[in-house]
């Protein structure tokens, strides 16, 4: 087991870097982080569209969200694979494909989280802001969203955990993330599948469990501190 870690440890952690593209655990974490950071603005936009009073905006967006949530992520990955180059005219790599699929998929899920977060802010906040003369956009930007996002923080961390697990599907398009590398190591070593796949499982467990504990601690902390009054003039 120690030999295994010594020989393949670096490959497992960073893939071929620097003699090749970044891979392994480093790629998993960076990809997950990038996907979540890009999915958040998309989720906010979709949530706002779903809460909009204009039917023309609400219905198509709701339909898109239902379609994306009803499709397996693997399918979304294959679509990103075929359509992304056509859409952007750019030649896209596996990382970009995976990133696009994750952003779209998580954006649709985050839309619901953000919607719940926004609807959880007391109406009094919006009413007070509007009565002070702040327009729709300003109310949203200065009053509602900052509070909503703060309350959503534990959910966002949990979504990050989910995104990290989702990056493992890159295995199927040959992305050199950590599960793919573990399988390659297993094919070379052959006689220790339990050790190799056990290590892979433990790595994910340590990462995801650790993060979910952070989310839990965040939740506790947010519940303790009273809601701060939003500052209108800064």
């Amino acid at each position: 087991m120690i030999d295994l870690l010594k020989t393949y440890g670096l490959y497992f952690l960073v893939g071929q870097f620097p003699q090749g593209p970044l891979g392994g655990l480093a790629l998993t974490i960076l990809l997950g982080l990038a996907a979540l950071l890009l999915a958040l603005p998309l989720g906010i936009l979709l949530a706002l569209a779903r809460l909009s009073r204009r039917r023309l905006l609400r219905w198509p967006v709701t339909a898109v969200i239902y379609v994306v949530r009803g499709t397996p992520l693997l399918m979304v990955i294959f679509w990103a694979y075929f359509f992304l180059p056509v859409l952007t005219g750019q030649k896209t790599g596996q990382v970009t494909t995976m990133l696009a699929a994750l952003v779209l998929f998580n954006g649709a899920y985050l839309a619901e989280v953000v919607r719940a977060g926004i609807q959880g802010i007391p109406r009094g906040q919006t009413e007070a802001a509007r009565s002070l003369g702040l327009g729709y956009a300003l109310t949203l930007r200065r009053i509602v969203l900052p509070q909503a996002l703060r309350n959503m923080l534990p959910s966002l961390v949990n979504q990050f955990v989910t995104t990290l697990k989702e990056t493992s599907l890159g295995y199927i398009i040959g992305l050199q993330e950590v599960a793919f590398i573990a399988s390659q190591v297993n094919s070379q070593v052959l006689v220790h599948p339990v050790a190799v796949y056990g290590t892979l499982a433990l790595t994910f467990f340590a990462l995801c469990f650790g993060l979910s504990r952070v989310a839990y601690a965040l939740e506790k902390r947010l519940a303790r501190r009273p809601l701060e009054l939003p500052v209108l003039l800064s």
């Binding site: 693997l74 399918m75 697990k165 297993n186 599948p193």
Partner: protein
Amino acid sequence: MAQFDFSIVTTGEFRGWLVSGFLLSLRLTCITWILSLPIATAIALCRLSSVAMLRGAGAVFVEGIRNIPLLVHLLFWYFAMPELLPETARTWLYDHGAESICAVIALTFYTSSYMAEDIRSGIRAVPATQLEAARALGFGYLASMRRVVLPQAVRIVVPPLISQTLNLWKNTSITTVIGTAELMYQAQRVETASFRGVETFGVTTLAYLSVSLVITALALWFHHRFPVRAT
């Protein structure tokens, strides 16, 4: 853009492949669901029990499984676990469709851990007074659960469980990595043979969506017909 010819995938040999994959996906979903529900209920009850060891075991089960991606579960159950079995068990496994069996095992563990959490939340949502009253009337713990608490929890628990069923349906697509010949596997096979990505994946997406929409419609109907009553 080349002309799209959907008849390639809706007739003939390729259609047969896709249909057999679709049926296997459905079978995997149903079998996993039937196995997961009792396991999930047992785990939920463990986590709510007064025996610390049971609570701990339940927590370990749920946290251990949920924090590992389904893909890794599948790889583990198919490539690692069988090596630990004795020879006769292993040969039996391989002669009887190891790919599907290991897929069901991995999916069952994964789905039941998520369902357990939803069931636990549902049970906790039933006011504690219900359980206390039942115990006061002389019912044992399990009997109180079975006759008083669980029936009330059902209404609260069904919507999240339906959503887990939707996740299960979508998760069957991942079993392609261990060679399970379900819909996604067959779609890849058809795409390789026909060179027609858009048609193949278009039809496959519609197949997945059809069942997803049925499940979602079921959830909406349930919410409409059995709204959660304020107590």
